[in-house]
């Protein structure tokens, strides 16, 4: 089966996390992925408007300006973006926000700190498993 390129948007205000995403995706080989990076919620919405065919968003919750939860709500309200899967990313301290986010339509969450392997397993689940095609 030919695999099509998946489009992923990672959203985090931390330069370190942005670099870590770039490095982690470089060594992710299960399916070809085109990664885009956004540094805040507004930037994410702008990029999603340009690329509504995005398959997956990794969305940090705690960002300056528009929070990840506010961004998630905007994504869920926009008809063109509703099908996009969103994974929330946060720290253990903000687990209650993660739970609110999952209730608001996120498909999964990732707790910092995470390893590239943990990220890859989640990507496998979201991008290539039966579950990924079940929506």
């Amino acid at each position: 089966m030919a695999s099509t390129k998946k489009r992923v948007l990672a959203v985090d205000d931390s330069t370190l996390l942005q670099r870590m995403y770039e490095m982690s995706f470089k060594i992710y080989t299960t399916v070809p992925v085109e990664l885009a990076i956004a540094s805040d919620g507004q930037d994410a919405l702008t990029r999603l408007a340009e690329h509504p065919d995005t398959d997956l968003v990794l969305l940090d919750i705690n960002m300056p300006g528009m929070t990840g939860l506010e961004c998630l709500e905007r994504i869920r309200k926009e008809p063109a973006l509703k099908r996009i899967r969103v994974i929330l990313v946060s720290t253990e301290d903000h687990r209650s926000d993660v739970e609110r986010g999952v209730a608001a339509g996120a498909v999964a969450y990732l707790i910092k700190p995470f390893t590239p392997q943990q990220l890859h397993e989640l990507l496998d689940d979201m991008l290539v498993s039966k579950r990924a095609n079940g929506r």
Binding site: S14, L16, L17, D93, P113
Partner: protein, 137 residues
Amino acid sequence: MRTTDDLLVVFDAECREHLAAMRRALDTLEHRPADWNAVSVVVRGAHTIAGNAAMMALTAPTKLARALEQAAIRLHGGRQAAGMSAMALMRESVEALDAMLRVCVQQAGDGVSLDSRVERVLNRLEGVGVQTAAGST
């Protein structure tokens, strides 16, 4: 390309930016103790350093930055102006964090542990912003 070295450079630069911003915010708070934007800068800086240090598996800086973040969140959430002791403690926390991060970057790893002085800072941070019957701390 040496991945860890590259990440350490990015980590160090981002920490330096946030530490500088937190110092400026604490300067502001000395003159205007109820400047909530300045408190937010402390929350933001400590949050990012804690998250980044955790991703770099730096245990002690993560713990101290997390405690500072929580203390500043309590002040912000309770709209409590930081008193003199809380201000001094937050300054001490920022400087201790700076020193620990420098060692971690120099040693390219989790080379520091919480010494007794930093442990005391951590314990005292837990009391910052906590409402008591006698008033806030």
